[in-house]
Symmetry: C2
Subunit: 229 residues, 2 copies
């Protein structure tokens, strides 16, 4: 089983310190919400966001969206071998049921996230996404992993063989991928990880790291299904 954690993801609601901004209040009113119930989006709230600490990396629900879309449609997920989790800057963890159908439309996805932050689970009738408070360390521990690797630009180059050595399909293998556009992990990943690795010499988008680590795992454990020998 591959436990993939999108860590320190830049997914959050509008912080109260900028909630009195006029354009934010207008948008909230139009949507019938309070400003602090909106998902922070750097694409729309660029100006008020300048007042926030770390403003150049925050407000990126699009990263979570595209990573979820690609992870949940992978053969690995269809075969029941993937558990996908989102951990956020404010130590919220979203547990994603593997059968979730993530909305293709970005605006609908953001609407779903708003509801999730408000109620803690969506959809109301039979929740597929559940949110709780947990640090990255707590979430990693919960997966009971045999091995934990963190993917980062300054990690070690490692052979696929070595990466999975001694790990069977039934073991819990945990991979941590940064859910932010650039910069460092906010969470302390060093002490959590058996290895810090990179898959390519240059920086890659989160979604590229997600699809690659999934397919490395598929190539190892679904070889006969996908490569046909």
């Amino acid at each position: 089983m591959l436990h993939l954690i999108l860590a320190d993801s830049e997914l959050e609601t509008v912080p109260s310190e900028i909630s009195s901004d006029k354009s934010l209040r207008r948008k909230a009113r139009r949507r019938g919400k309070r400003p602090t119930e909106l998902i922070l989006d750097s694409n729309y709230f660029h100006k008020p966001m300048r007042k926030l600490e770390d403003s150049e990396r925050r407000g990126r629900p699009d990263i979570v969206h595209v990573c979820m879309l690609t992870a949940l449609d992978s053969p690995l997920n269809h075969e029941g071998l993937l558990k996908f989790n989102v951990h956020t800057r404010q130590d919220k963890v979203i547990k994603v049921n593997p059968e979730t159908r993530i909305p293709r439309s970005y605006n609908r996805f953001v609407g779903l996230m708003e509801q999730l932050f408000l109620t803690g689970e969506v959809p109301p009738e039979s929740p597929l996404l559940k949110m709780k408070d947990a640090t990255l360390a707590e979430k990693v521990k919960e997966t009971g992993p045999e091995r934990v690797v963190t993917l980062r630009e300054d990690g070690k180059r490692i052979s696929r063989k070595k990466l999975f050595r001694g790990i069977s399909k039934k073991d819990d293998f945990c991979a941590i991928v940064g859910g932010f556009p650039h910069g460092e992990f906010l969470s302390e990943v060093d002490s959590l990880s058996d290895e810090k690795i990179k898959i390519y010499p240059k920086a890659l988008e989160a979604v590229t790291v997600v699809t690659h680590i999934i397919q490395f795992y598929e190539a190892e454990y679904l070889k006969n299904l996908l490569f046909h020998g």
Copy 2:
């Protein structure tokens, strides 16, 4: 070189037969455009679209968006071994410069596509995306391929070894992936393809097929870079 063609993609402007629809006209006015200059989007124009033939599959710029995002950030593209092209339902072909930075924001992407349909190239100062009229057969021929494969649900299972047998990194290998949500190719792919193959027994989203064919190619030709032996 992998030439990846997203074929029969459901990317088009609003057809004139529904351009008199009130909600479409309102949206166009708000954006300072004619209705027929808007990109057709099933998520927003669901009701007027019901009058269109094939309405249940049309208006899916989101598929093109996510496929472009993931393809252009792949190590294969960074290494200069990928040419990504979009072919549409109306036989338009978009040639994508490998250095293009596709907007992360869906709304900005749609704005870019509107401009592309209007002017034939974007951005104006030094075009990275260029559109022309061409059928899928014409585009495939233009790549001068050693081998052409079409990815489809009812294709053959084939080993990766056999897929690339006799093909070197310098050869032009052409892969055709459907840029539509479900159903059949509109273009005649049988006569164009040396092989019709599938990578997994169940239907997959276009983006999943795109990331997998790219990574199959990477695993074959960038083995030492990505797998480190």
